[in-house]
């Protein structure tokens, strides 16, 4: 198997998931479950992921400095780890959205012919 064949969808998925998380967090700090719910609701199940895969993504984003974690309180009144978008995260999101728009306009143009 050529080494690239498996990587592209994975990387694409990663990138998309990262962007979705960042976008979700623009609405304010949330914990992991809230992020998962929001993605489920807004994508209308078009983007089906395991709940679990969300967390490595969050940790990865935190390592990159795009989100930061703080302790807050959940709806259940318990201590919850909340993720907040950082300035670097905002910049990153803008960049990803721009790339995405360019990509999708391009694809749309092709489909429109």
């Amino acid at each position: 198997m050529p080494p690239t064949s498996n990587k592209t969808p994975n990387a694409l998925l990663h990138g998309a998931l990262d962007a979705l998380i960042l976008k979700t967090l623009t609405r304010g700090p949330s914990h992991g479950y809230a992020v998962a719910r929001f993605i489920e609701e807004t994508t209308g199940d078009a983007f089906l992921i395991e709940d679990g895969s969300l967390y490595p993504a969050l940790y990865r984003l935190e390592r990159k400095g795009w989100v930061e974690a703080e302790w807050g309180t959940s709806e259940l009144g318990r201590r919850a780890k909340l993720y907040r978008l950082t300035d670097a995260g905002r910049t990153q999101l803008a960049a990803e959205m721009a790339t995405w728009r360019k990509f999708s306009t391009g694809v749309s143009k092709v489909f429109a012919t």
């Binding site: 914990h31 992991g32 479950y33 998962a36 719910r37 395991e50 709940d51 679990g52 895969s53 967390y55 490595p56 940790y59 990865r60 935190e62 390592r63 400095g65 930061e68 974690a69 703080e70 302790w71 959940s74 709806e75 259940l76 318990r78 201590r79 919850a80 780890k81």
Partner: protein, 890 residues
């Protein structure tokens, strides 16, 4: 800052953090499913299913979290470090005088240390330049009179063949002598040569860079073979490989140059070539010829203890087999590195290391003092930073960064200082102190040493001031005036100065003892007068003077013509220079009174053997205490005579030595027919070394009856400029030997020989004195600094006192009294330390006791004077304070 908050304030372990997060997720998902009408148990199960493999997730997340934490710490640390360094440079640039003094002080300290480190590194730390050097041992023969004796060739060969723990054992003669190389243009040159046995290059593992080394076959054939050093090959033969395999004429015989070995091999002896001495079909008595220094290469994995017990068993066997020679003789092993370095060098290196270490401590104390003073002035700045939220550790870290930056600048300058010292130091190092051709090199190891030293030093002198500077309560300091801040800072400074003075006293005392030793060694009566004597090695080519008569005629002619030169007082020939070179190398003879019961070979006394002309004793002003001097009666045909020295005379059991006959035979060829000589005189004892423990035994024979091919010419001049006569003497020789093939070498004066003989004492005394002087100056700068500073801080106090009626004398008393107390305490501590440390250098002393009162007194006086000078300035300034002005000053 924000990101770090989480980890600093809510320090939850990563795996717990993850567990909580997942638990919350599962719970909320379950609730949602129940709310949608699902059965609770089923909802829980589905939530878990939807989550996936939690264990894998956890591993992945915790791993990511750890990496993030690490990176965060590093980033944060680096950011803070960068800020601190920037800030440190700004601070240092803002106080150029402080920075200059501090860095120069550190440069001196670190530089001195780096130079000494290079010495220690070259000698003690570095392994011998041979493969697997830890397997090389020196093997000595022991006897009742010697714990480290040289070895007889048959014993060495038996050790080699009978031991099971050695790969190979070989030997070499400990001294280097010379041979005359006849050159193609008809001229001759004296070349240093060391004798070795066939296996020596194999034992040491030295591969030739051209040709080959010696083989067992060479030895069996008794081949005349020689190996050149790379140095000789380079300087005389332009690295021409064609020389290998060629024959050269050495001392009139043809020798084959079989190979060239690299420079590193010269560590065995400072020589230009190695000639093989074959030992085959030796007579039994050769066992009593102790002439070789022996090295063995142990088999891999063999410990020196195992090798020792193996060889002891072999030696015991030999003692049973050859009781005549080997009874009561054993073996002793030591690592070859120890033999090469020698205890003298080791102890000297340790001494220097200790001394420069103390100097560096004084440097640190001085800089710490400066920092303390600065810290007091900066108290407000630091208090403000503290009030703005910087923790104490953070401020300490910043101050430490400042001191480390300071130390690193000092370290860089120190590299320069060290390099300078290393350029000069080799000129001071006496010949023979360093083994072979060890060269002091300034390499990356020394630079690395400077870097490490600077870091340690930076923390060392920075930590106390930094801690001190941050021990305040902010409101109090900010509301107050800097000048009124006193307290423990002052105490710490006093302690530092006390320590500096104590260390300076210690070093000064050590220097004093070594200088007194040097003086004792130099003024020591050797039994002869060394002033105004020119010496040189004269080596005529054997083929020009084929018979003893011809050679004697040549010597007589040279002596007569030299005597005729203006300014010459006396001329003599001798096979050796007292304290210096001998044409034989170390070549002992056995002697015994004719008629006495023969002694076992291992018990026969040995004597040094020297051939001299009758004028030798008058030239050196060496007294004949009994009997007569040599004269014209002692011709080749007359009965052989000898003059013995006092030590030899004493060894004859109280008999009157005059008229006794001695049987004399070279110790390395006891089977030779002994020469019978009659003692006609006793010469005064010549001392080789001032610290020699046993008197040197010496036998002189007349040149008229005994000949040697190369010989030292000694010329006593009437004026001080003995060395100026050298060219005239050379031209005398050239005029006599028309073939111009007489080699003249080692042109020097006896004073220079003497100077070299006391070299190691001088080296130690000069080095330690230099460092002690540096230490005293630094300590006095410290005393001056603290005093000047405290006067500055107390101007208003003094002004007030003056206004209230104190005289300027009172103020001076106040200043001097305070300083004197600190210095006196430091001196007392220093003297106590000196008394304790003096014991450590006892072996380096001569003619002075470790607790020498004169030295104690001198050190006290010198330091007293220096202190007075250091105190005078600040005291004078304090006395001149104008009360009115001082009180107006804010």
């Amino acid at each position: 800052m924000k990101r770090s908050l989480r980890s600093w304030l809510w320090r939850v372990p990563l795996d717990q953090e993850f567990d909580e997060e997942i638990a919350l997720h599962l719970e909320m998902r379950t609730r949602e499913l129940i709310a949608a009408g699902m059965d609770p148990a089923e909802a829980r199960a589905q939530a878990i299913r939807k989550m996936g493999d939690v264990r894998t997730l956890k591993r992945e997340c915790v791993d990511l979290g750890r990496k993030r934490d690490r990176e965060m710490h590093v980033t944060l640390f680096l950011e803070e470090l960068r800020d601190d360094i920037k800030f440190a440079f700004r601070q240092l640039l803002a106080a150029p005088a402080f920075t200059l003094v501090a860095t120069l002080t550190l440069a001196l300290g670190i530089g001195a240390n780096s130079a000494i480190f290079a010495l220690v590194d070259a000698t003690l730390l570095r392994a011998l330049p041979y493969p697997n050097p830890d397997r090389l041992v020196t093997i000595w023969e022991t006897s009742a009179i010697s714990a480290k004796g040289f070895v007889s060739p048959p014993n060495m060969q038996d050790w080699n063949s009978r031991s099971r723990t050695f790969e190979k054992i070989a030997g070499f003669t400990p001294s280097v002598a010379s041979m005359v190389l006849a050159k193609n243009d008809g001229t001759a040159e004296t070349i240093s040569r060391q004798w070795v046995t066939a296996g020596i290059f194999d034992v040491l593992g030295v591969p030739p860079i051209a040709g080959r080394t010696f083989t067992a076959d060479d030895e069996q054939k008794r081949a005349r073979v020689v190996v050149f050093s790379e140095g000789l090959w380079e300087s005389r033969f332009n690295r021409n490989p064609a020389i290998v395999g060629k024959e050269v004429k050495l001392d009139g015989e043809l020798w084959t140059v079989v190979g060239i070995v690299p420079k590193e091999f010269e560590i065995l002896g400072k020589t230009s070539m190695w000639a093989m001495r074959p030992f085959v079909n030796m007579p039994p008595r050769a066992r009593a010829s102790y002439q070789l220094q022996v090295v063995g290469r142990m088999k891999p994995g063999v410990s020196i203890e195992a090798a020792q017990s193996d060889l002891v068993a072999v030696a015991n066997g030999l003692a049973r087999e050859f009781p005549d020679f080997n009874k009561d003789r054993g073996v002793a092993l030591e690592p070859m590195h120890d033999t090469m370095v020698g205890s003298d060098l080791k102890i000297t290196s340790m001494l220097f290391l200790g001394v420069v270490g103390f100097v560096l401590l004084i440097c640190c104390a001085n800089v710490a003092n400066l920092l303390l003073a600065r810290a007091t002035a900066r108290t407000r700045e630091l208090a403000v930073r503290s009030a703005l939220g910087a923790g104490r550790l953070r401020i300490v870290r910043q101050l430490l960064t400042e001191s480390v930056v300071l130390a690193l600048i000092g370290g860089v300058l120190g590299i320069g200082v060290g390099y300078g010292i290393l350029r000069v130091a080799p000129l001071l190092i006496p010949d023979g102190l360093l083994p072979g051709t060890v060269i002091l090199q300034f390499d990356m190891r020394v630079v690395a040493f400077c870097a490490v030293a600077a870091l340690i030093v930076g923390v060392l002198f920075g930590i106390a001031p930094a801690w001190q500077a941050t021990s305040f309560s902010s409101p109090e300091v900010m509301g107050s005036d800097t000048r009124t801040t006193t307290g423990s800072g002052g105490r710490l400074r006093s302690l530092l100065v006390m320590g500096e003075v104590a260390t300076a006293v210690l070093l000064l005392f050590g220097a004093g003892l070594l200088l007194r030793t040097l003086m004792a060694v130099e003024s020591f009566d050797r039994g002869f007068k060394a002033r105004n004597v020119l010496t040189m090695l004269v080596d005529p080519l054997g083929s020009t003077y084929p018979t003893p008569e011809k050679l004697r005629q040549f010597f007589d002619q040279v002596e007569a013509d030299t005597r005729a030169l203006p300014g010459v007082q006396d001329v003599a020939w001798s096979s050796a220079v007292p304290l210096g070179e001998s044409v034989f190398g170390e070549y002992p003879f056995n002697y015994q009174v004719v008629g006495d019961a023969p002694l076992e070979a291992s018990r026969r006394p040995t004597t040094n053997y020297q051939i001299v002309s009758p004028t030798y004793f008058s030239t050196l002003d060496l007294a004949i205490v009994a009997g007569r001097n040599f004269d014209e009666r002692d011709a080749p045909a007359s009965p052989r005579v000898a003059i013995v020295n006092e030590a030899l005379a004493r060894s004859l059991g109280g008999r009157n030595p005059i008229g006794l006959q001695l049987a004399v035979v070279p110790a390395d060829s006891p089977n030779d027919k002994p020469a019978i000589v009659e003692i006609v005189g006793v010469a005064k004892q010549v001392k080789q070394r001032p610290d020699e423990t046993s008197d040197f035994v010496q036998l002189y024979t007349p040149l008229g009856q005994d000949l040697v091919g190369d010989i030292m010419l000694m010329v006593r001049t009437q004026t001080d400029r003995a060395s100026a006569l050298a060219p005239s003497v050379r031209s005398v020789i050239e005029n006599i030997d028309r073939t111009q093939t007489t080699s003249v070498a080692s042109v020097t004066t006896l004073e220079d020989v003497e100077w070299a003989a006391t070299g190691r004492h001088r080296f130690r005394a000069v080095m330690v004195s230099a460092f002690a002087t540096l230490a005293v100056v630094l300590a006095m700068v410290g005393v001056f600094g603290i005093l000047a500073y405290s006067v500055q801080m107390r101007i208003r106090d003094f002004g007030l006192r003056r206004a209230l009626g104190a005289t300027s004398g009172d103020v001076i008393r106040l200043v001097v009294g305070g300083a004197a107390k600190v210095v006196a305490a430091g001196m007392a501590i220093g003297l106590v330390l000196s008394a304790a440390f003096a014991r450590l250098i006892t072996t380096m002393l001569f003619g002075v006791q470790p607790l020498d009162f004169v030295t104690f007194a001198l050190v006290t006086i010198v330091l007293g004077i220096m202190t007075a000078l250091a105190i005078a300035g600040p005291a004078w300034r304090a006395a001149r304070i104008d009360p009115a002005q001082a009180l107006r000053q804010k």
